[in-house]
Symmetry: C2
Amino acid sequence: MRIGQLARITGVKSETIRFYEREGILAAPPRTQANYRDYGPAEEARLNFIRRARDLGFSMARIRELLDLSDDADRSCAGIDALARSHLGEVERKIASLEALRTELGRMIAACEQDTVGDCRIIDALAGTAEP
Amino acid sequence: MRIGQLARITGVKSETIRFYEREGILAAPPRTQANYRDYGPAEEARLNFIRRARDLGFSMARIRELLDLSDDADRSCAGIDALARSHLGEVERKIASLEALRTELGRMIAACEQDTVGDCRIIDALAGTAEP
DNA sequence: ATGCACCTTGTAGTAACTACAAGGTCAAGC
DNA sequence: GCTTGACCTTGTAGTTACTACAAGGTGCAT
């Protein structure tokens, strides 16, 4: 598959795909005899992963770490464990925040259905005590 | 509370707080007689909201919309409903992605505990079919 | 043989910060 | 009373993660 089709399928612009390749987050694919990048389903999956992880607010550095978990098959369990645990913590915090937001949005929609506007506590949904 | 303390409490730099004020996402607070910005708990909550929403990958534009839901008390239920529903959809998609990621990270940690490295399917966790 | 998708390198724009400089005010501590 | 640190302003410039476009070239289908 060429870059244009991969771009259409994943919703990532061709230029962004080449950018990811330059950044080393997406390996340089084989080339056709015409020097076109030739992508397969593995690259498609990896690109979808990157795009979704970015959408979830993970930085490129963090995504690189996550991808390393995937790439370094011959890695020590201790290393994998520590990194996976740290990512798991971040993921769980994000889930908790999003669930609070979901609850509040659901509450507002329900109130609207009964035509009782109600007060909006959407800020409170995410405004728990701060910790970086 | 002055800007420095708010910055310490929320983990948002003073310069970023002023930036949010310039951008109109955080209202200009009252000033002390010394012309210092004077923040209260409401601003703290709003700032925590903004910071967390950014961390979850919401754009400033999207955050502005969410805050509008909170600010415009005298808004039509139809308008609130449509906007809340659209945000709810995005939130639910994000939760689903994060839950897949959580499951896979948990699986890797569990495998490591038994010293059976196992294969990493972390990419598959987020690489479902694409839709922008 | 025309047009479109691809190739390269390079520059520049965007969003959302982040940093720092210059020049000034305010108030607490020595 | 004077220094020090936190604040004020305006302004410029750097960072990350793209996004866009230009110039000049290749491959290939119609």
